[in-house]
């Protein structure tokens, strides 16, 4: 069971509409290192974790990723709100408009639809937790790219928050990996 909270995890503000920046940010909505992939990855991997700690960390971080997914959609929504056809065409979102109008479709910055081929669920907890740590670093690097692509300090504030969460999640996954590695070694000892 999941509960919805009628609020964002962290405020999303934009100084001005900016369709071009919305196009770039799309990659965190439905791209290879985006928040949707992160949520689906962690929430799918948790079933085969050998310890309560592994199940808990993946449940909690997977749930937080859904809140980040909502923040990203909010950025796109606010950046494109009221955009004219001219704005849309100049931003390179004409092909998006042709297919999806103003719909916020889970795809990457080039409009490539989201695919679960971006994620893996190996069942092997060591392999899965290594993937999760890499995923957090890739998302961290993506946020740094996005921060460099804007000069809107309000938008940057939300992007910086999301970047910092990747760093914290990487840390927690690393601790979980150490713990589970120790747990598995102790089982082999007898």
């Amino acid at each position: 069971m999941w509960l919805y909270e009628k609020k964002l995890q962290y405020p999303v503000r934009v100084s001005n509409p900016d369709s071009k920046m919305a196009k770039y940010i799309y990659t965190q909505f439905g791209g290879p290192n985006g928040e949707l992939g992160a949520a689906v990855r962690y929430l799918s991997q948790r079933y085969t974790m050998p310890t309560g700690r592994g199940k808990g960390v993946l449940t909690d971080i997977g749930t937080e990723e859904l809140a980040h997914w909502e923040m990203i959609a909010t950025m796109v929504y606010k950046l494109t709100k009221g955009a004219s056809i001219t704005d849309i065409k100049q931003a390179g979102l004409g092909s998006h408009y042709a297919i999806w109008d103003s719909g916020i479709f889970p795809g990457d910055s080039n409009g490539v639809p989201f695919t679960t081929a971006y994620i893996n669920v190996m069942g092997d907890p060591i392999a899965d937790l290594h993937e999760d740590m890499a995923a957090e670093q890739k998302a961290r690097a993506t946020y740094e790219n996005l921060i460099r692509l804007t000069d809107d300090v309000d938008l940057m504030d939300g992007l910086k928050f999301l970047r910092e969460r990747e760093v914290v999640h990487f840390q927690r996954f690393g601790e979980t990996l150490d713990y589970i590695q120790g747990y598995m070694d102790s089982k082999k000892a007898f």
Binding site: K6, V57, V168, R172
Partner: protein
């Protein structure tokens, strides 16, 4: 630290952020008594802040998790992405 003059939503978001952080930390440090005490302190302040927010703006959670309601305001705008 949470200041008194902040808007109710910001207060809820700040307390929740502290709880998310402590929750993830406790997931990997379940025996840290200081963190547990901080979690419990924030959790009780969070309940109060949520009640204050909900009295003014309506329920935060669906499916009955915000308690009984006199009228159905769950569907009222603005939704979070519109604020």
């Amino acid at each position: 630290m949470v200041k008194q003059n902040m808007n109710p939503l910001q207060t809820v978001q700040e307390l929740e952020f502290a709880l998310v952080e402590l929750n993830l930390y406790l997931d990997t440090h379940p025996n840290d008594q200081n963190a547990l005490a901080a979690f419990n302190d924030f959790a009780s302040r969070y309940a109060t802040a949520r009640a204050t927010y909900e009295a003014q703006y309506g329920p935060l959670a669906n499916f009955g998790n915000s308690g009984p309601t006199a009228s159905w305001t769950w569907i009222d705008e603005p939704w979070p992405w519109e604020i």
